[in-house]
Symmetry: C2
């Protein structure tokens, strides 16, 4: 089983076909980075059109069972998520509405401070807000995963404490390996995994030691070292693959509509998508990572967990409402 914990490609039948070539049974995709509820629904409508086209060989992934069904029918289950809480606006009731529409992950912030929490690119992180506490409780109730990939350290640690269900960092690496505001401290990784949550290792070059020049061996070595400290059962891949996107998209991701040019924070000084490592072009290369993890000395069972079974188990426990 192979599952990717995050992608935002310029979606096409070609990209979906490469998911099949790469043996992906499920991919968590981002529906919204910016914008309010109505715009997010436009994004969901676009996904409905993609699901309706049988040549895409994708199905809507609402539960872990959908991953099994996709697998049996030679399709990829697409799990929908949000990298920003802007789609719920200031309205708690939209959490359940978006869950009903299929959203299974939501980040409490996207780099900047939000109504809910502190962002990883802000100078200060004041922790989880009053509304943030309500939203975490509601996400726990309906079965939507709290994703802290783009949040600040304090907010992430508080989210682990406040959430009654395991949370996720869908796409980031240890900052002890590659220092970056988007990578995570050992404290954060320990807390998230200690709470039963997941860490998805990112292949986005700004999160890699050496950037685009990072080798497969170095990447797999980093995973093996993380596994030594934290075990393997809560580790997965979250490639952050942004395939076939023009550079205007990375500027839009960072600036949204809240900033006209750049405010100079962190990687805003690098206004292009970086080249992917040569050994991970796109969805076709997941088997290369699998081989790399075996070559570094991880067991077959450990590799199977990291490549998909750990995400699958997490999906099983995370996507359904708490029984009332």
């Amino acid at each position: 089983m192979r599952i990717d914990g995050l992608q935002f490609a310029n979606w096409s039948t070609t990209v979906f076909g490469q998911m099949r070539e790469g043996g992906l049974d499920a991919v968590h995709v981002t529906v919204a980075y910016h914008g309010g509820f109505r715009e997010t629904v436009l994004g969901l409508e676009a996904w409905n059109r993609r699901f309706a086209d049988p040549s895409n060989r994708i199905v809507k992934g609402l539960t872990a069972d959908d991953v099994d069904r996709a697998r049996r029918s030679g399709c990829t289950a697409i799990v929908l998520g949000l990298q920003n809480p802007s789609p719920i606006e200031d309205d708690l009731g939209l959490v359940e509405i978006l869950h009903t529409l299929g959203i299974r992950f939501m980040q409490l912030t996207y780099n900047n401070q939000s109504l809910l929490a502190g962002g990883c690119q802000e100078v200060m992180d004041g922790g989880i807000t009053r509304m943030g506490r309500q939203v975490i409780r509601e996400m726990n109730r309906v079965g939507m995963v709290v994703d802290m990939s783009h949040s600040g350290e304090r907010s992430t640690l508080e989210a682990v404490d406040l959430s009654t269900r395991p949370i996720a960092i869908t796409h980031a690496n240890p900052d002890s390996w590659a220092p970056a505001r988007r990578n995570k401290s050992d404290d954060v990784i320990r807390a998230v995994i200690g709470g039963g949550g997941m860490l998805g290792f990112s292949l986005y070059p700004h999160h890699l030691r050496g950037g685009s020049a990072c080798t497969l061996g170095e990447f797999c070595e980093m995973i093996a070292r993380t596994a030594e400290v934290h075990g393997t059962r809560h580790l997965g891949i979250g490639s952050d693959l942004c395939q076939d996107q023009p550079d205007s998209v990375v500027r839009w991701m960072r600036n949204g509509r809240w900033c006209r040019e750049t405010d100079g924070a962190d990687s805003t000084a690098k206004p292009r998508f970086p080249a992917m490592p040569t050994w991970f072009r796109d969805n076709r290369d997941f088997r290369t990572i699998e081989t790399g993890l075996r070559d570094i000395g991880l067991s077959g069972e450990e590799v199977a967990g990291i490549m998909g079974e750990n995400w699958y188990r997490f999906f099983q426990q995370s996507f359904s409402p708490v029984p009332s």
Copy 2:
């Protein structure tokens, strides 16, 4: 089994309790008369809160199976619908989004001309529009019932022809019995039923012969006469019960925000809710109608069909997507 084809009460635990007293297994309720998509979602959020309160003893009715489940657990299944297509705005994709959120009926017009069709209170009815044809096709695809209760005659006849699945007039009576722009001609009733669709008899006094003074015998006689011409298997009740609503609500229903006072059409000259007939106060009195139908000479099987089984069968065939 008892099913009501339309209500818009001032919802409360009291009203839901009366549904249980009256033995209602399912009720189709109106979520929106006016307003766009976002406001309709606010209405759906309010229903989520009502469903979450166990003292209401209601469940969301998405399929006929939910009616069975509700029945077994001593609850009422609430089937959600729209009396206006304004919630889909000018966006075909919102039909599937609203179906996913639970909407199972949508009127193509509410009295006035819409983007889709001609309304029953307009001087002219130009029939189903270009967008209307697309929306009917999409409603057929996803499993949302075309409801023509408040539409013009020409649009209704065209909708029967265009729709590949049976349509409904959820709440109206024959205009040969009680002349009113909201009641329906024999041609319309014949066409709707001929296409496998349903007619729900209304208890709203403006749709009754003699208004609030209409007797139980006269109402049941009207049903029996309709059954003689059209058979009983496509007849049901659509009470149009607007319980506990202040008169401001009937003015809002008619005028929405498109009209400040009244434009003088039809019943806009009667700016209050009429008194209900003494024999049908509210949900507790469905058994009175059942008795009345037996007393008029209909068989037990015919009465069971009209009181709920016909709607149930219609739900079974209408609420799921066409297999692809």
